[in-house]
């Protein structure tokens, strides 16, 4: 017998590990709309299987909790069952000896509080709050509910223009979204149960790259008869233009009032062209404006004395406010007013108007950890800065920016300084910024789901900086609207789910997008425009359905072996950081075919075929 021996993983252990990975992916890919109690119960079963069996609360308590929850699901429980579950879970949380027990019970406790409605529905009415409708995951998670399996099938069939038409049924901006969408659709892609989510955005990019110009109307199609109704849209960003597009199709007369020189909102004044080329944006907007009677007024500001909302309301039958979130937020630190300190909004807006500052010979520090901060850092590199540093008070992992954006920012040569909270801007005698001082942070407890930073016992760090770009979020210029009587909370315009604004005598005034939700994503702004169009149409006394424009091929059976996800290619770093041209390159045909064949067609298989896996009109 040897005194010690090397532990080798057995085949069984290796298999169990791979099963853990399978389950992990499965949990991530769990379809929306399940019974929360059923899930709580099945997670408990996993937890109970993990118990070592030594301690009472965990060994006995977890299976008992599971049975009590099962009783509720089977309609055999009442509110006293819920009370017993809660008390037992509390006791296990408080008295189990290790995390296997107390964390399991804590999950139950979270559920009892978090989906209490469902517990009560099961206890009192013996039914579930889940309606038993299993929608297609990607479609459900897309805020605009774009028919994703449908257009993937069309791309697969080589019908790229039809794919664009299908997307436009729910989202007028297929080109924009092919390049910059945050693709929430991929989060719960069922393909994760096999290997990884489909690269949905990449397939959309393939469609628009190969579709050529797709006019709004095909031969023989035309705009709905004029209704004689006039709708004003304040703000020519993604939300406003989306609303204008659908309202135009419906036959209403639409006028867009845009504050700036050009249309596009944050698509132009927030997203740099290396992610979204100007010509693509321009062409897409120009196409959308042909949907109907849509007029555009540029450099007009609504809400102030010159053009109060009341005047607009007199002239139009309905108003949609989609002004976005375009104001700065400041750091409130000494030296912030020094020359060289600018906001992200300011920098990106100048770039948006083709006024490119020259950062040659300058050191730039960007403050923030969101996508806008990444845009500023990557733009600064392209404006020939000598050095770009990004300072963030939490860790890289905690950044709100998309992981691929952070990665791209780093590989392009930006140094990321984690756990660095801005302290002051050091200002030279000439009034120009010289450096940003940051307080070192340590990561601390998790609050509201995110680990909070706190001051570390360490000396402040000086980062040399001629330019400091503050990218810590944007606000909403809602003041004037508040004065006209629209309800505003924390700067955001308040609206119902129908997007009708809150406030007295506000009939016919709707609002959506960033100015209601706070700064969010392009696709959410687009979805808000779609919702506004539908509800304004109804408000005006019409019901113009927007219908499925193309037939979608049924899937052809084929093998779907586990397969890697196709990643988008990018231009080499040394080439791309000197210009503002598009970084990303589309898939090859071969890649498109492989990727589109990975789609599991949830619109057809599973629940899809049962309850017609698509919305044919809205």
């Amino acid at each position: 017998m040897s005194r010690l021996s090397i532990t080798n993983e057995t085949k069984a252990q290796a298999t169990v590990e791979s099963l853990h990975k399978d389950l992990e992916r499965r949990v991530v890919g769990a379809p929306p709309g399940l019974c929360p109690l059923d899930l709580a119960s099945s997670y408990l079963k996993v937890c109970a299987a993990q118990t070592c069996g030594k301690c009472v609360p965990c060994r006995v308590g977890l299976p008992q909790l599971e049975r009590l929850i099962e009783d509720l699901i089977d309609g055999k429980g009442d509110m006293s069952t819920v009370a017993t579950i809660e008390k037992t879970a509390e006791t296990i949380t408080d008295s189990a000896d290790c995390a296997i027990g107390y964390e399991a019970a804590n999950m139950v406790l979270k559920g009892v509080k978090g989906f209490r409605d469902d517990y009560e529905a099961h206890a009192k009415a013996h039914h579930c709050t889940a309606d038993g409708f299993h929608a297609v995951p990607c479609v459900t998670l897309c805020p605009a509910h774009v028919d994703i399996p449908g257009y993937i099938a069309l791309v697969n069939a080589g019908r790229y223009a039809d794919a664009v038409r299908l997307i436009r049924k729910d989202n007028p901006f297929p080109s924009v979204c092919a390049m910059v969408c945050e693709h929430p659709c991929e989060n719960k892609c069922r393909r994760r149960m096999v290997d990884d989510a489909i690269n949905i955005r990449g397939l959309k990019l393939y469609a628009i790259d190969n579709a050529g110009h797709v006019p709004v109307y095909r031969e023989g199609e035309k705009v709905a008869p004029a209704t004689g109704k006039k709708v004003a849209i304040i703000g020519g960003g993604p939300s406003g233009i989306s609303a204008a597009y659908y309202l135009g199709m419906m036959g209403h007369s639409v006028e867009i009032f845009e504050q700036r020189k050009r249309l596009g909102g944050m698509l132009r004044y927030g997203i740099p062209s290396y992610r979204l080329p100007r010509e693509v944006l321009h062409e897409e907007i120009e196409t959308l404006l042909t949907a109907g009677d849509i007029k555009v007024h540029k450099e007009v500001s609504i809400g102030g004395k010159d053009y109060p909302l009341s005047k607009l309301r007199e002239e139009f039958d309905a108003v949609y406010i989609a002004i976005g979130a375009h104001t700065d937020k400041s750091l409130k630190i000494p030296g912030e007013d020094a020359e060289g300190v600018m906001s992200a909004v300011e920098l990106l807006r100048r770039i948006g108007d083709d006024d490119y500052p020259d950062f040659h010979g300058k050191k730039v520090v960007v403050v923030g950890g969101g996508n806008v901060a990444m845009d500023c850092a990557r733009s600064s590199l392209r404006l020939n800065a000598d050095k770009v540093t990004l300072a963030y008070r939490r860790r890289k992992d905690d950044m709100t920016a998309l992981a691929e954006e952070v990665e791209a920012t780093e590989v392009e040569g930006c140094e990321i300084l984690e756990l660095a909270a801005p302290l002051k801007v050091e200002v030279g005698e000439d009034g120009k910024a010289k450096a940003l001082w940051v307080k070192q942070q340590m990561i601390s407890n998790i609050k509201g789901g995110r680990p909070a930073p706190k001051d570390a016992s360490a000396e402040p760090i000086r980062i040399e900086a001629d330019i400091v770009v503050v990218a810590i979020g944007q606000g909403i210029d809602s003041h004037n609207f508040e004065e006209s009587g629209i309800a505003v909370k924390w700067g955001c315009i308040e609206a119902f789910d129908s997007e009708a604004v809150k406030g007295e005598n506000m009939d016919g005034v709707f609002s959506g997008g960033d100015c209601v939700s706070g700064p969010a994503t392009v696709i959410r702004a687009i979805a808000a425009g779609k919702v506004a169009a539908a509800n304004i149409d109804e408000y005006l006394g019409f019901h113009h359905p927007i219908t499925l424009p193309v037939e979608i091929p049924d899937p052809v059976p084929h093998n779907r072996p586990a397969c890697g996800r196709v990643k988008m290619r990018e231009r080499p770093i040394d080439q791309r950081i000197h210009d503002f041209k598009l970084v990303e390159k589309g898939m090859t045909q071969e890649e498109m075919e492989q990727e589109s064949n990975r789609c599991l067609r949830c619109d057809y298989y599973g629940f899809g075929k049962f309850r017609e896996g698509r919305e044919v009109e809205w």
């Binding site: 019974c35 013996h126 093998n559 049962f610």
Partner: protein, 574 residues
């Protein structure tokens, strides 16, 4: 055309043909349980799975389209095993006490399990409890439901009543009344289409045969049977008779063999309905300025329930004429009781119907006009067959015999009531006569039917243009009612039948898996009509006798009392 092979045999099928249909076209049977052509092609039971060469996983043949060059194996070891195990899994949730199930012998699950040679249950049984209001004419036995979803789909897509829905979640998912409500509280028309499309015995009619046996056993009643038009087209289907054997006269003999004292023909009272309804329509036309059009037919109780529940403001436009069943009930227990010289309660009248909603109709309290219950029991064709079988009657050997007189005489117009367009055609023949005093060509109104669901036509009677529509299937009816309500559709007279193809496809008809027999049964009635010389309701000698001896004239006082009703007063459920 697409070329492929099934089990090595080269086949050629039209494009967009499913594997299942392609196999059927080539006489290859693929077992299936949930599949219902064009209505439920959802691949839920996974019994129809087949192997495609080169494919790792099996595919459901019901919803996979044959592709060029596809090599299909319907009986590979893998598909055999999957089919068998999936049937065993279904059986683990199915109350398989087959001898006590009325679908025994006509059950897809039973025959599939038998064909596959399943003789053991390897799985734990997990059978749902059977809890239902047994007074309701339509019964769902949860212990037998195999969750094929056919009932959900037929009610959603064809009838558009959404009575059934999936209930519960996850592995507990099942079918139930939408929202978990009581069946008596939802808008169920009792059309019975879910019953005729259920592959097993989970959906059945309330079995009233024992009530009839009890009445026979009591021996103190005069037992009278009446047979609805569409019953004669289908009664032999499950008794092993050919159409040639299953004549109405052999049916009369079978009912006599069961023990009925008198066997009458509901087609007589269909003629009576035409006399009243056509008169009513003609009166309305005369008074057109003060009347609301269209007038709707009222003989289908599924449709009457529908209009009461879904379009109550249109109810006043229903013809006030009772259905042939209810007219017959009233006449038998008034005029015929008088002829027999007995009190109405001495008569026990069993009405044989292709319909489940008729079980509801006969229970409508305000309908009774004879002083007794006008109709004692309604039996569906399926119950009729069971009644005959339980008596051990060898129907094939029975000599044919005529219906009894005088209530057994009917015109061709009465016969065609049992198929879509029949009521309209019959009514127009007589209305024409009432207006002009002359008979039209009996075939003048034959183009009033379309088996796809809707047909409209314009006819001229004495210079008046009549816009008529004939519609069947509640989904089609809903659309038409919406158009009538909005003013988009303008008609004078509309015939509505709740079941697709009318009574011939009724919810009380025999069930033949995978076949929609309504159209073919309807054609039998049309052929009967064409072959007759008596083709006008108003020429039926028994009808003339009935008016002469008893009723007086159409829309007269007696008629009003016995033969008309106010549907607004019908309670939907007690």
């Amino acid at each position: 055309m697409v070329n492929a092979t099934i089990n090595g045999k080269a086949i050629q099928v039209p494009e967009n043909t499913t594997i299942l249909e392609a196999a059927k076209l080539n006489h290859i049977k693929i077992p299936h349980l949930c599949y219902l052509k064009k209505v439920n092609e959802i691949g839920a039971c996974r019994v129809c799975v087949v192997e495609i060469e080169g494919q790792d996983r099996l595919v459901s043949s019901c919803n996979t389209i044959v592709q060029e060059g596809m090599k299909i194996l319907t009986n590979s070891p893998k598909s055999r095993q999957a089919r068998r195990i999936n049937v065993e899994l279904i059986l683990s949730q199915h109350n398989a006490r087959c001898p006590e199930c009325i679908r025994s012998g006509n059950c897809e699950l039973q025959s599939t399990a038998a064909d596959l040679g399943i003789n053991k249950f390897p799985y734990h049984e997990d059978i749902a409890a059977f809890e239902w209001n047994m007074d309701f004419p339509l019964i769902r036995d949860a212990s037998k439901c195999i969750k094929c979803m056919r009932c959900v789909q037929i009610c959603d897509k064809v009838q558009q009543m959404h009575v059934w829905d999936i209930a519960k979640t996850g592995s507990r998912t099942t079918v139930d009344v939408t929202g978990g409500q009581d069946i008596t509280k939802v808008d169920c028309t009792v059309c019975g289409q879910c019953i005729t499309h259920c592959p097993v015995g989970a959906l059945i009619e309330r079995d009233d045969t024992q009530k009839v046996r009890d009445a026979f056993a009591a021996k103190d009643k005069i037992m009278i049977a009446s047979v609805a038009p569409a019953v004669r087209t289908s009664w032999g289907e499950q008794l092993g008779l050919t159409h040639e054997q299953a004549t109405q006269n052999r049916l009369a003999s079978a009912l006599r063999a069961v023990g009925f004292d008198y066997v009458f023909d509901t087609d007589f009272s269909a003629d009576l309905t035409i006399m009243e309804e056509a008169s009513e329509f003609v009166e309305k036309l005369k008074n057109a300025k003060n009347e609301k059009f269209p007038m709707f037919t009222s003989c289908c109780p599924g449709w009457v329930r529908f209009i009461k529940m879904e379009f109550p403001d249109l109810v006043p436009q229903l013809s006030s004429a009772k259905s042939p069943q209810q007219m017959f009930g009233a006449i038998i227990k008034s005029w015929y009781a008088q002829i027999l010289g007995v009190e109405p309660y001495k008569i026990f009248h069993v009405s044989f119907m292709p319909c489940t909603a008729k079980k509801y109709e006969c229970d409508v309290e305000c309908m009774n006009a004879s002083g007794a219950r006008d109709i004692d029991v309604v039996l569906t064709v399926r119950e009729l067959d069971r009644l005959i079988r339980s008596e051990g009657i060898d129907v094939k050997s029975l000599e044919e015999s005529e219906f009894d007189a005088p209530l057994g005489t009917a015109s061709g117009a009465g016969h065609i009531f049992g198929t879509t367009g029949g009521v309209m055609e019959a009514a127009l023949r007589t209305a024409y006569y009432f207006v002009t005093g002359q008979n039209p060509d009996p075939n003048a109104f034959r183009y009033v039917r379309d088996y796809d669901g809707f047909k409209e036509a314009t006819f001229e009677i004495a210079g008046t243009k009549l816009r008529i529509a004939v519609v069947h299937g509640l989904g089609n009816i809903r659309k038409l009612c919406e158009d009538v309500q909005s003013g988009k559709a303008q008609y004078d007279f509309i015939e509505c039948m709740a079941c697709p193809t009318g009574c011939a496809g009724g919810g009380g008809q025999p069930i033949e898996e995978g076949q929609e027999l309504g159209e073919g049964r309807g054609r039998i009635l049309l052929d009967m009509d064409r072959a007759m010389t008596l083709r006008f309701s108003h020429e039926n000698p028994s009808i003339k006798q009935c008016y002469a001896e008893y009723l007086g004239k159409p829309l007269g006082e007696k008629s009003h009392h016995l033969l008309h009703t106010d549907q607004a007063k019908w309670e939907l459920w007690k």
